[in-house]
Chain length 414, copies 2
């Protein structure tokens, strides 16, 4: 197997090292990188260029690894590689979430494979497991922590009693969060990964942008403390449910109780909890990112391509788009924190709205301590009920402009 | 694919149902079971007998599934199937642990495969993952809960404040423990699974009987309470470590701290935590047993065999025995509970022995409450040190016959 690598950054360098140390039968033949000139030492004799044709036009190269990131150039590289008869391995979830439908079609028309183990949950071999071992299992539920940056932020907020802003800044300094963190903290990276996962599970294409998403930006130190008081932790979860033939999914921050294994997934770890009709509960946990863990997944894709070289694994053809059902039609318990003016009648007004909407309350707590004078936090836990009913009540509560300053709500995972 | 099934018990019945519901391309053609006559309804027309030749001599059957359990008959069935040119799928860890070396040789001489996903940790696809995705990874550590019965007992002792004997009896009544529970509670089932796992990891054969083993029979309600007091839980762990080229392994009850993901693996769940040189920490968790979870693993072996039918996956040849290093040469922190006579000088005598053996103590606690008059429990936590030193001190303490009544010790997992 002769490999050409696009992008000699964090993951590319990890891959080069693994290939050198492990697999003489898989040879890195050429590297394309826009700053290849600065990387002579790493290349150690492997031919390199900033000209993509160095790899694309080299007929001796049968496999292209795309590790540049970004969309436009990556799209060009993947398409051209396939056109030139090469298989592709990529870690680029953004590319796949945006252009995967067309790319997978294109690859299957050309009889080529696009492998992407590293694009979802780093070192966790979830793609290969879903595609092989669980190919004939019916996965009816999936709940995952698939974004390391947000899990790191939520973990440090809790452990070090810091605000969201403080941890974000620290994470940016350590290189654990991007300068523009929107993709991660807005939940969009998790949304892209959930789209890919659910496409694999269902065999139909899921458009990332159609998946409801909420990020963690509105989570405050108070919510973290309230969660702990009730033996919960806050996690950004990507969730999929198959209920009576309908596919529900969303990305949302949520309260996770002690009994749930996701409770213990801390810092930048990733985890996928799923339920198979016959095989019941499974948890896969591992490193969601990092030089070698991510490079290892790229490497394991290369190994599988090599093994399959004689008789290619049938590429899963995705030919239809999956209809996504309305998550508001499903049920959940909720945590709701309202910051309100500390004046008579507030709680009564809120309770009335909840009552009018037939929302059943599990507990109500008030806390003056953490907030400014003249304000108070009210924390309400509801029993499980249809989300749409909760959203409606929330809207009405929020309309109590004279007394409600703002609110934060989180579903509670069962 | 035409399949013959030996043994229509719990797992066999689960498999039959999955095959009926899922895979027309994999057909159950015949069943051999000593009480087949009682099972006409389940068979629903599939030909059946108590005569093994019904399957073994049927040339149209290409794959044999062995789900009878036991050793002698199972050995005969597996050997005969291979001799007759059939591939074999089995869930029988006892058979493989005892005769695996010869059987795998025999199969590879005949160009046939013995698949055994269901033999280790039920529904968790650990065998296939080690053999494919992690085939080129160096696994340097493995820590597993691989016996559901003992984990169930330890969980219920803690949650329901029951003694070992009380829970065992209840588990036997519920069918969660055998009438003769020795294989499970003595740690031997875990020992067999660890032997198979480490054989897969190293590619050399590990003799189960050479793996040091301790069971859970001496764990008492007091130890469970003491563990909780220090935010630990007791687990029966199967452990493997690769240290400077030496292979260490054992099965032992151990204290597991809150930080360790095994802390949360409760009841009959199984889990495998392992570390790959490049890919870092992984956890696989799932059902360790049960009709459908186990049958699903058998089924997934069948699917993989079917996929590989065109180009058989190269059978991993095991041609050497793995030398197992002495676990006593590795280090561990320890929990030690001594029941002693409540008389002056006892603690001094014990402390002196520990000091003489250069054992560094983390804490000492005394508790009169839980024991008979004139006796006291002393609980000592040591820092990590060579196990051999601890064992030596333990022997000397135990020789203090006049004052020490008995002791329980557990390594503490890092
Ligand atoms: N890092 C992780 O832990 C991780 C985990 C999972 C997935 N991924 C994915 O893996 C991919 C690579 O990530 P990374 O962390 O290795 O990124 P990186 O460190 O930024 O490396 C990217 C490399 O590609 C080069 N490059 C970027 N655009 C290029 C272009 N248009 N033409 C030529 N060269 C170009 C960059 O050059 P410069 O040095 O000049 O910028 C850099 O050397 C991304 O898709 C990412 O989402 C990464
Ligand atoms: N159950 C689990 O959750 C689980 C999990 C992992 C692995 N396994 C393994 O799977 C295998 C089967 O387990 P199981 O729970 O299904 O056992 P089981 O319920 O006892 O079923 C065994 C079946 O085989 C029949 N049988 C036993 N010996 C026979 C012989 N010599 N000739 C013909 N028929 C024979 C039995 O007949 P009778 O009905 O007359 O006894 C019974 O129908 C065992 O190796 C076990 O270790 C089981």
């Amino acid at each position: 197997m002769r490999v050409g690598i696009f992008g000699l950054g964090t993951v590319g360098q990890g891959l080069l090292q693994i290939l050198r140390e492990r697999q003489p039968a898989i040879e890195a033949v050429a590297v394309v990188d826009r700053s290849y000139a600065r990387k002579a030492e790493l290349l150690a004799g492997i031919k390199a260029s900033d000209d993509k044709n160095l790899i694309l036009k080299d007929k001796s190269i049968d496999t292209v690894v795309e590790l540049m990131g970004g969309i436009d150039d990556a799209l060009y590289v993947v398409r051209s590689a396939i056109e030139n008869g090469k298989n592709v391995v990529t870690a680029n979830k953004a590319l796949l979430a945006e252009h995967g439908y067309a790319l997978f079609q294109f690859a299957s028309e050309h009889g080529r494979t696009i492998a992407f183990e590293a694009a979802i949950a780093g070192a966790i071999p979830i793609v290969r497991n879903i595609e092989t071992i669980f190919r004939h299992e019916r996965i009816t539920r999936l709940m995952g922590i698939v974004n390391g940056t947000t899990n790191y932020i939520l973990t440090r907020m809790r452990k070090d009693h810091l605000s969201y802003g403080e941890v974000l800044e620290a994470a940016q300094k350590q290189g654990l969060a991007e300068a523009d963190p929107t993709l991660d903290v807005g939940g969009y990276d998790a949304q892209q990964k959930l789209a890919l996962l659910t496409s694999l599970i269902t065999g139909e294409w899921v458009e990332a942008k159609n998946i409801p998403v909420r990020g963690i930006t509105e989570i405050s130190a108070q919510d973290v403390v309230w969660a702990e008081r009730f033996h919960n932790r806050i996690r950004l979860v990507a969730e999929y449910n198959l209920i009576q033939g309908q596919h529900y999914m969303h990305v949302t921050p949520a309260l996770v109780g002690e009994q749930n294994v996701l409770y213990d997934i801390e810092y930048e770890n990733n985890a996928l909890l799923f339920h198979g009709e016959y095989s019941a509960e499974h948890l896969f946990m591992g490193k969601g990112a990092g030089k070698f863990p991510t490079a290892f997944s790229v490497y394991s894709d290369l190994i599988q391509l090599q093994l399959a070289a004689a008789s290619p694994v049938p590429v899963r053809k995705i030919e239809t788009y999956l209809p996504i059902a309305n998550i508001a039609d499903t049920t959940s318990a909720f945590y709701l924190r309202l910051r309100v003016k500390d004046q008579p009648g507030v709680l009564a007004a809120i309770a009335q709205i909840l009552g009018n909407n037939a929302l059943s309350i599990a507990s109500v707590h008030q806390d003056h301590s953490a907030v400014a004078a003249g304000e108070v936090d009210i924390v309400i836990h509801t029993h499980a009920q249809k989300r749409s009913g909760f959203y409606k009540a929330l809207k009405e509560i929020h309309a109590l402009k004279s007394i409600v300053l703002h609110h934060v709500y989180l579903p509670v995972l069962g």
